[in-house]
Amino acid sequence: MTVTQPSSVPDAAPLHEPAHQVSPRAVRYWALQGFLGAVVVWGVLFAVYWFVPDGVQRWLGPVFVAILVYTVVEQALEPIIRYRRTRWEVTGERVFAQTGWLSRDQRIAPLSRVQTVDTERGPLMRIFRLANVTVTTASAAGPIRLTCLDTDVADRVTAELARVTGQTRGDAT
């Protein structure tokens, strides 16, 4: 029942980042995607501001300006940071992906446990010739997404993963 606290918790280095970066075109894709999202937000903000009574406008104004500034800053920073932090690697027997721009999400699964490999291209992604590769295991908690790969790379990775996982026996649970 008992839990003992450790006497000291030394700082530890995080895992090495996976070897490969995503396609450089991903920066423009994320920027465009973020911009489209921001336009919707701005539209809603202006519409709300237009319709609320004057008394409310006085204190709602600064709040909205703060939100505006935040979205602008986010537009400027997010794609670049995200590009630097999104990485992936497939070794002989394991797949490792890192995502997140403020948070960090590192996912590892052995290829022997992989069940399906999907490739997906949204309409916006096709403009930039990008594709997501999703690797699923028998656990709903562990899908690994290699986001925004160059389509050629994505095809190669998918083919390679399919080849390796095809050799696995058993039901991979």
Binding site: H16, R107, P110, R113, A138, S139, A141, G142, D171, T173
Partner: protein, 534 residues
């Protein structure tokens, strides 16, 4: 009225465990079989039961005079249609066994065929409601280890069902021996050794209901919900009670009315508590009557239980990847706990309840017997240290700030209606009250939080109000997710998730120092992080 066959079952097991033929009564190798025609009696009963509420409403509507004769006639027509549909569904539902598969065809208008490879069948559940039992029928649910969906054969005779159970699980375990599981990085060969191994002897009983455990029934929170619901329904009649009198009573009657109110509140409390005890005890008896948990020859775990509706669940032991011990805060006071199995392919969240609220000591013993390892449920765990404590406390207080802010806006800036009567200190009171509550919860969560690793299992304990200890077989860990939020990164903490196919498909150790997390993952699944450790 006899119960389900005893756990030992009929000696239908053929001598050679190669590929046993389907037993008689279950279905020939190629023939499509219908479910028992006795199901035709079950459907009308079900139809009537589902129509009972509308029927009662219609009858009441008619007797009150404004009755609508359309509904008076429509209800029986709908009932007849429902019965007809049930008969058609029975007529078009067929199943058969091929050499490799169990196939089930259903559907009146849109036909559907569901198949399960016989070698992949991991669990067989038998369930008989009272109607089923009167007619000697059983509903069988067959689960494969991979999907969550189960194949339902509703309406086998009792003998068919029990031979089906023995046959299906024998087939799959025979297959399991031939085909050693994948030698994945996480040690799948270990399972093969366990299932194909020497356990071919006697059945052993791991647990049996002890009516002394009944004293734990009132401490289970699930029945509180039922009673609260019932009180809520009764509350609908509250308008008829003379409670409004208290507001107008400024004179001598006021005192009397206030006393009456006190008595009423006290009475209601007593009723709720008594109702809770009665309902929880009754549901405990109904659900867990005759519980027996048996390890059968050939590596299967079987539970049988139930007073009116009897249930029997059989899971291949290799598919039980661990257990979960749950202690609600009320149960903690009386040293009680519950036990659940984490398995793959058993439907409903991949969990199977093994023990009702029972003494913690019993839960630990049974759990250890099931895990075949001593320690995971009793051992001292490693806590997550002071920074985890800070993180848990801080993240717990965001809710406090939000609620206080929510209270502050109407109190200080809105002078309309009811809000105008709020005194200025309301937000502060919310801040202090909710803050204290959250601090207590957070402190509890931190004290319960811990992890450990044994030779064969990963152990993680979490929870403040409901403390859960999850024990997951190391071979059942598929992969790892190390998640660090912005604040966690600054404190060097992470949420470590072991992904698995069993149970809720994940075991999460929240707010664990990053170094500990990586050491734990590395030790639990050697080689998985190789080359990426700094």
């Amino acid at each position: 009225m006899t119960a389900l066959p005893p756990p030992t079952g009929e000696p239908l097991a053929p001598a050679d465990p190669g590929t046993p033929p389907p037993p008689p009564g279950v279905g020939g190798a190629q023939d499509w079989q219908r479910l028992s025609p006795r199901m035709l009696l079950v459907h009308p009963v079900r139809a009537i039961r589902s129509m009972i509420v509308p029927l009662v409403l219609v009858v009441f509507g008619v007797t009150r005079g404004d009755g609508n004769s359309f509904w008076f006639w429509a209800a029986p027509v709908f009932a007849v249609l429902a019965v007809l549909f049930g008969v058609l569904a029975w007529f078009f539902t067929r199943y058969r066994f091929t050499q490799e598969q169990l196939q089930l065809r259903t559907g009146v208008l849109s036909r559907k065929v569901v198949t399960a490879p016989l070698d992949r069948i991991r669990s067989v559940d038998l369930e008989s409601t009272p109607i089923h039992r009167v007619l000697g029928l059983t509903k069988a649910k067959v689960g494969t280890g991979v999907d969550d969906s189960q194949i339902e054969l509703d309406g086998l005779t009792r003998d068919q069902a029990s031979s089906l159970r023995v046959y299906l699980l024998q087939r799959s375990s025979a297959a399991e021996v031939d085909e050693t599981e994948e030698p994945g990085a996480a040690g799948g060969s270990e399972d093969a050794a366990r299932t194909g191994g020497p356990r071919r002897g006697e059945d052993t009983e791991l647990a049996r209901i002890d009516w002394g455990w009944l004293r734990y029934a009132p401490f289970s929170l699930s029945s509180l919900v039922v009673v609260a619901g019932a009180v809520g329904v009764l509350g609908q009649f509250g308008d008829d009670l003379p409670l409004d009198e208290t507001e107008v009573a400024q004179d001598a009657w006021g005192w009397v009315a206030a006393q009456a109110l006190l008595v009423l509140v006290a009475g209601a409390t007593v009723v709720v508590v008594l109702g809770w005890v009665v309902v929880s005890t009754a549901s405990y008896v109904l659900n867990w009557w005759n519980l027996s948990l048996v390890r059968e020859a050939g590596g299967k775990i079987r539970t049988t239980r139930g007073l009116l509706t009897t249930r029997s669940q059989t899971i291949e032991e290799a598919k039980i990847r661990g257990v979960r011990m749950t202690e609600q805060f009320l149960l903690r006071f009386v040293r009680g706990a519950e036990l659940t199995a984490l398995a793959t392919g058993v439907g409903s969240d991949g969990t199977t309840r093994l023990l009702p609220p029972a003494p913690r000591r019993v839960v630990q013993e049974v759990g250890h017997a099931l895990l075949e390892e001593d320690g995971p449920l009793t051992m001292t765990l490693t806590g997550h240290g002071p920074r985890a404590r800070r993180r848990i406390h801080v993240s717990g207080q965001w809710g406090t700030l939000f609620l206080a802010g929510l209270a502050a806006v109407p109190t200080w800036w809105l002078d309309v209606g009811w809000f105008a009567t709020w005194p200025w200190w309301v937000p502060l009171a919310v801040l202090v009250g909710v803050g204290l509550l959250n601090a207590v919860v957070a402190e509890n969560a931190w004290r319960n939080l811990g992890h450990a690793l044994t030779d064969r299992h990963l152990v993680v304990q979490t929870g403040a109000v409901i403390r859960t200890r999850e024990v997951l077989e190391r071979g059942g860990v598929i992969g790892w997710v190390v998640h660090q939020g912005l604040f966690q990164r600054r404190l060097g903490l992470a949420d470590l998730t072991a992904t698995t196919a069993a149970g809720a498909e994940r075991v999460v150790a929240p707010n664990i120092p990053l170094g500990m997390a990586l050491d734990l993952a590395d030790a639990a699944t050697p080689g998985m992080l190789e080359g990426w450790r700094a």
